[in-house]
């Protein structure tokens, strides 16, 4: 009984320490200048490694520049006109993106995002998957990714038969941008 009580006291002590410790880390993050932007990607330059993000609406909207580097996570979400949440920190007075996440409402559940470079690797490795071009058929005809098939958005139900029978097959959809 005494041992149990001692145990509780010890647990309480550890918990208090931990909570205090956690709180400390949080304020520490703020000191380091990690913050969050929510906005729409207006432009992206791979050469300059720079994103332009529009934040706020209407008259109050403004465009902020955010740099990225090889450590930035989630760059596959940085498509133009796409809404993202960006964690960033200040380095030498400039914003550096640490990670990008999409605003969740836009992505249906069960669907994940893949980057252009990862698709390129899959094509080069001749992996088994189905690549689907969702744009109007005329766009597909003018230029499409290697191995892609054409199923325009309005015809998804009618052309369901073009999809592979095996429901485990990786399907990758693309169109003319994020909207």
């Amino acid at each position: 009984m005494k041992k149990q009580l001692l145990g509780f006291v010890f647990l309480w002590f550890v918990l208090t320490l931990c909570m205090h410790g956690c709180a400390d880390i949080k304020s520490g993050q703020q000191v380091a200048g990690i913050d969050v932007y929510r906005g729409t990607v207006i432009a992206k330059s791979n050469k300059a490694k720079l994103l332009s993000l529009e934040i706020g609406n209407g008259d109050k909207s403004k465009i902020v520049p955010i740099r990225f580097d090889d450590q930035t996570k989630g760059l596959e979400y940085s498509a133009t006109r796409y809404k993202v949440i960006i964690r960033y920190e200040k380095r030498n007075g400039e914003n550096y993106a640490l990670s990008l996440k999409p605003e969740l409402s836009q992505i249906p559940s069960g669907v994940t995002v893949i980057s252009v470079d990862d698709v390129k690797v899959l094509i080069e490795k001749r992996e088994v998957f189905e690549l689907i071009d969702s744009r109007p058929a005329a766009r597909y005809s003018a230029s499409h990714l290697p191995g892609a098939i054409s199923i325009p958005v309005p015809q998804m139900k009618d052309l369901q038969g073009m999809l592979p029978e095996d429901k485990d097959t990786l399907l990758i959809f693309y169109c003319g941008g994020p909207v």
Partner: protein, 252 residues
């Protein structure tokens, strides 16, 4: 919009569904190769370039192609209109890819290859020409089915009786700037709010011309198909549209 298709695939029961969100424009931006479809190579409004030697080209080439041997491309590339859809082929894959990079580096945006090059086309039984080669590249922009030219679009801005201007960008985009003369409904709302929306427009009829725009033309084209399907008389504008306040810069 492909998110909609991907969501649909999940409903069909597919377990492993992904979306390349950045889309075809980002693929082109990364200067990766794309292919042209059979119909586009054969009949499309494209500049088709045979990179093989003029001797080979004279003997047999894909129908309506221009002969620009790879070795002389560097000197002649500037004679090819920057806005044209350029399709390349050869019998040498390395040269094809090098030529593609050259076009990308010069700022050409509409580029694609013939899958499998010259022999790939022969295997498909595609149409061939022979005889003296054509080296003088000719190309004229033509409107696709349902496309409205910039001239007609601008005329409708001045004369509202010519056509209704329909803006299908998102609410956020329209808030930050929109053409004074335009009616706005987001592409996503066309499915369900269209009739109710058109009921608010005076003299609206099924015959009324509707000119649709977005920021590039891609969503406008999608809206075109949807309105056409619903029995209206739409046209879409392929142009970059940037708006601030009541003014928009329109560039083709």
């Amino acid at each position: 919009m492909c998110l909609q298709s991907a969501g649909q695939a999940v409903l069909f029961g597919y377990e492993n569904v992904r979306v390349m969100l950045a889309g075809e424009p980002a693929w082109m931006e990364a200067k990766y190769p794309t292919y042209a479809g059979f119909g586009f190579v054969c009949q499309g409004n494209r500049v088709l370039i045979d990179l093989r030697s003029s001797m080979k080209s004279e003997k047999s080439r894909i129908t309506r192609s221009f002969s620009i041997p790879f070795a002389s491309l560097e000197n002649t590339i500037d004679t090819i209109p920057l806005k044209a859809s350029v399709v390349l082929y050869s019998d040498n894959e390395e040269e094809t890819i090098a030529a593609l990079q050259m076009f990308y580096d010069r700022g050409y945006k509409k580029l694609s290859l013939v899958e499998g090059g010259y022999s790939g086309w022969r295997r498909l039984g595609g149409k061939l020409d022979s005889g003296p080669v054509v080296t003088d590249v000719q190309w004229k922009k033509t409107l696709l089915e349902g496309e409205v030219g910039l001239k007609e679009f601008n005329a409708a801005l001045k004369d509202p009786t010519a056509a209704i201007i329909l803006d299908v960008r998102t609410n956020d985009e329209a808030i930050s700037g929109k053409l004074r003369q335009s009616y706005h409904i987001p592409l996503d709302d066309l499915c369900c709010r269209l009739d109710e929306f058109f009921a608010t427009i005076e003299n609206m009829s099924r015959e009324q011309k509707i000119y649709i725009h977005c920021t590039t033309g891609i969503r406008a084209e999608m809206a075109y198909y949807e309105l056409k399907y619903k029995g209206y008389n739409p046209y879409y504008l392929v142009a970059d549209v940037k708006c601030k306040g009541n003014e928009c810069e329109i560039e083709q």
